[in-house]
Amino acid sequence: MEQIYQKVENGPNEIMKAEVGTKMSRNLKYMKNNYQLYLLVLPALILLIIFKYVPMYGAIIAFKDFNPLQGIMGSPWIGWENFEKFMSTPDFINLLKNTLKLSAFGLIFGFPVPIILALMIHRIKRVAIKKNIQLVLYAPNFISVVVVVGIVFIFLSPVGPINRFITFLGGDNISFMTEPSYFRTIYIISDIWQFAGWASIVYLAALSNVSQDLIDAAKIDGANILQQIRHIDLPTIKPIMVIQFILAAGNIMSLGFEKAYLLQTSMNLPTSEILPTYVYKIGLQMGDYGYSTAIGLFNAVINVILLISVNQIVKRLNEGEGI
């Protein structure tokens, strides 16, 4: 403070400088006094910069004719050539369609299920029964995607229980895993089987905040359960539904590689080949680094655009509340 008083004598210009100076020196002093806080955040920051930001820089090889021997810096620039090449391949439209369809259908069918489950479980009054239902519903979340796909293969194999049942009813064997038209259905149903229960936790937790007084008042007014759900339960979980929807929609293009890749057979590729699996094959199996990075970048940019636009749309529909 004394410094400022001294500077006042030197005119208004100096005061401004002094204020900027004191803010800086105040911050520096804070950092010096609290250096331990900065030490704590340092490991995460270092790993973040190395493993997230360095690859972002590395993504410029999408615009280069990348040659590992010349490195990222040394490889020659080729502008948009990789992107143009990708967009003119006959696979382009199909890949884009497969990726968008798989996630859009996954969202449309997958999003409501946890909400419905939560509303249903919430109405179970006996605590012990409720706990047991939750225990079973959450369990598949802890099974690995490899095992879930393994179970899918077992169940849908030509001699598996599903086909056994179909032939028992007098139908013909269906070869689910090699028929492209079944891929999306298999992917989405097994996803719901595995994750819907787990995803209902967040809605259930929100529902547990509904006050009993409100429910009792509604009952006195003669509201039946469906009316209570419509006018009390749903409005309570609406903010969470909005957040979950935006997050899910924003991830529409960042589909899990892991499951799609496992569910692929050489026969169902017409529907099961999506952008992430294509990037993996072109990049790591065929070694075309620059080209596959361009495809990955294309995917990532669409993703960001989707996230921002969904957030804007929801904001408008939801009276200014997005994330």
């Binding site: 911050n27 950092m31 609290n34 806080l37 900065y38 704590l40 955040v41 490991p43 995460a44 920051l45 790993l47 973040l48 493993f51 930001y53 360095v54 690859p55 590395g58 993504a59 249903m120 179970i124 239902i133 939750q134 225990l135 079973v136 519903l137 959450y138 802890f142 099974i143 690995s144 995607v145 490899v146 095992v147 393994g150 179970i151 293969f153 077992i154 169940f155 001699v159 229980p161 936790i201 967040v202 937790a205 009993q212 009792d216 009952k219 359960i225 979950q244 924003g250 590689f257 892991e258 992430p276 990037v279 990049g283 790591l284 680094y289 596959s292 990955g296 990532a300 960001v304 996230l307």
Partner: protein
Amino acid sequence: MFKHQTRADKVILTTNGIILALIVFAILIPLIYVIMASFTNPATLLNSGITLNPSKWTLQGYSRVFKDGSLLIGFRNSLFYSTAFSLISVTITLFAAYPLSRKDFVGRKLMMALFIITMFFGGGLIPTYLLVKNLNMLDTIWAILLPGAVNVWNIILARAYFQGIPDELREAAIVDGTSEIQFFFKILLPLSKPIIAVLVLYQFVAQWNSYFDAMIYLKSENLQPLQIVLRSILVQMQPRPGMIQDAQNTAQLQQIAEMVKYSSIVISSLPLIIIYPFFQKYFEKGVMVGSIKG
């Protein structure tokens, strides 16, 4: 509570119970089927499916899996990766979350922005792979342990939890001459057991169940985690050599390949399914913290 239910409500509640029972059943059927099939004689399984007749039961699938040993090596490796990964990741997460939870922390906004950007945008598969390669981490345990160790979502969860702990606690401790580090370790962490439990469980499970990083970064047979071994047995339909060495003909080979699938699933999935109920009470807390602040 009002005891009187209208007739309509009774119908709705009963229907609700029945549908939920069916859903529980639908989730359990595949699991029960796999467990029963793992004990069923492969010839019977192939001809008529699972059976309740004990004379058709066998432990052969399990003995073959144990005799081969590669699943057990995978099990051991996964136990190591998951433990080390969750330890590293959760430590880093808690360290970073504390300063970021402090309103007075200079640089907080900038750092949060740096962290959050990476949730929505990244360099992608190939640049990350090239980085790991250039760091000479290919085919080492570090390729599994380090690239994914910073989980921004978990930092947000832990940060939200720390923000819920009253400021007065820290102020009182600082007045008593406690340093920030001492406060963090001696006062804050002991109060944060629920969130630590949730984060450790999340990271452990995530690592235990993932195969992708191992598939692209690891070549050596003795480094492979459980999921890679499982993938070859379950998805690529290639049982390990030690499981099938005594097979007489292709028909028998096929039966054995089928049988070891079931026992491998049971052996690899049972530990988590048994452990997770003990953590269940923490789930709602963990998820809730995130959904409010997220």
